[in-house]
């Protein structure tokens, strides 16, 4: 794996670090590793890190960053601060530590998953097979985005992949579990959306009064577990 990275301005108050090209577990691990390096050792003026699939963006407050002299570029100076943090070898934290897998109970089909039959039909399998395949493996949460606590999860088996809906629904209830291509995801809040909805979880993915405010975080693994309708009430 290449140890190189490149840094680019994202406006005059953020640096974007490119850590790889494809959406792979290895690149993801680098993103997580680099994020932690900055967060554990923040510089003066650091605001926050936003990791994505192949990049990490670091936001800073240009007024608080203490440049060595007035004539130098704030961006260049922040890049030099980041370089120091990225210098040490990448070995630590590289392997997947033995992590718990977050259990996501899902009630599939019916009112909760109006598109379950569509996904089954599209792939020429039964609804039960869709459920079995969807809940039959661990998934890596690559990124949290789109909505607060919304996990981008790839690696859905091709046999249950399904295209987005032609016309997005104006309202998808919170907790809805959907499929789009080979991605699956969970809607944390009610929003419009075009994914095929196959079920719903009773868990709250976004809980603004808690720390962290989302059930799932970038880098975690999750597994869906089928539950009965009556378990949805509580």
């Amino acid at each position: 794996m290449s140890k190189s990275y490149s840094m680019h301005p994202l406006g005059d108050a953020a640096v974007l670090v490119q850590l790889g090209d494809g959406i792979t577990d290895a690149v993801h691990q680098r993103v997580v590793d680099f994020t932690q390096r900055v967060e554990r050792n923040p510089f003066r003026g650091f605001i926050e890190c936003v990791p994505s699939f192949t990049t990490l963006s670091i936001y800073y407050d240009p007024l608080t960053v203490q440049k060595p002299d007035d004539s130098s570029s704030t961006f260049d100076y922040v890049c030099s601060l980041l370089q120091e943090r990225f210098k040490a070898d990448e070995e630590n934290g590289k392997q997947r530590s033995i992590q718990e897998v977050v259990d996501i109970p899902v009630c599939y089909g019916g009112d909760y998953g109006p598109d379950l039959e569509i996904v089954a039909e599209h792939n020429g399998i039964t609804a039960d097979e869709v459920i079995r395949l969807h809940s039959g493996q661990d998934y890596l949460v690559y990124v949290i985005g789109f909505a607060p606590g919304f996990p981008y999860i790839g690696g859905v088996p091709e046999r249950i992949a399904a295209p987005r809906k032609q016309t997005p629904r104006p309202r998808i209830p919170a907790g809805s579990v959907g499929i789009a291509g080979t991605q699956t995801g969970i809607y944390p809040i009610e929003t419009p959306g075009g994914w095929q909805i196959i079920g719903r979880t009773p868990l709250a993915l976004f809980r603004p009064d808690r720390q962290p405010p989302t059930l799932l975080q970038c880098g975690q693994y999750i597994r869906f577990r089928p539950i009965d309708r009556r378990n949805m009430i509580d």
Partner: protein, 334 residues
Amino acid sequence: MRLTVLKPGLLVTVQDLGRFGYGKYGVITSGAMDKESHRVANWLVGNPDEAAALEITWSGFSLRMEEDGWIAVTGGDLSPRIEDTPVPMWRPVYVRRDSVLTFQQVRFGCRAYLAVSGGLNVPKVMDSRSTYLRAGIGGWEGRPLHAGDRLSTYPSRLSNRSVDRSTITGAFYAPRWFALPGKIPATGQEVTVRAMPGRQYEDFDEVSRHGFFHQPFRIRPESDRMGYRLKGPDLRLTKAKEYVSEAVALGTIQVPADGQPIILMADRQTLGGYPKIAQIASVDIPLVAQLQPGGTLRFREITLREAERLRDERERELAIVREMIKRKIEGVVP
């Protein structure tokens, strides 16, 4: 001070400077669109930068002051009035109990900021008082203000005693001095916004790159706090390509498949999957925040270094404005 909303207007929300540190959870920044006007409004009534104030979009909003106290209105000129008397902007104004403040008509810009001495008393959610409309949290019950909402403030740092009430002859009292107003574009005025080439600038064909920096764009009516949708020359990639989603920033200009750019503003999502043709210099964001739908703008190319220098200069100017306001209000506002 206590306030009661009489008419909700188009969109009035409680905002501070934004919610930071939660982007990795998919939580957007929110916050005032025109932060410069928001900050000056707070300074004028003795509030810290991060105090919550009202962002009033367009017209139709009115509220009643339930106590005497200091307020300040900055930003776009939406014809603020108390009892038919225009309320001067960009200065502290001492209002009396039962005064009704209205914002009836848009004259310049499109967003006004109303700061009340003490700052609006709403709970912090994830370290911020800004309204996050889509998630329904923060600000006032996570939503725009409605008629009948009753807001209050924290204790004011400015004394009411410094005003001799017998000298208030009209509806309110305002000193003669005022802070230098921000740049608010007049209706119909074409503005020039400085921008740097974005990360995927080179992926656009030559005609598009040239057009972007040399032709005018119109702001489409479906623009909002999330983004300004523009109408202008078609912007095309040299060859179609799928981009991996990555973080965006305030003022990022991205181009969806229809070739018409979107300027990402305060309520932007944390990540975007469209190519970024340019990035607006942060010094010009307040100007963009005051552009009206239907207004026109042009982009002028500058370097990152120039953008940094312009921002540092503007901050030095603002520091002077702040210091002068501080001296004035410490020496008893009148």
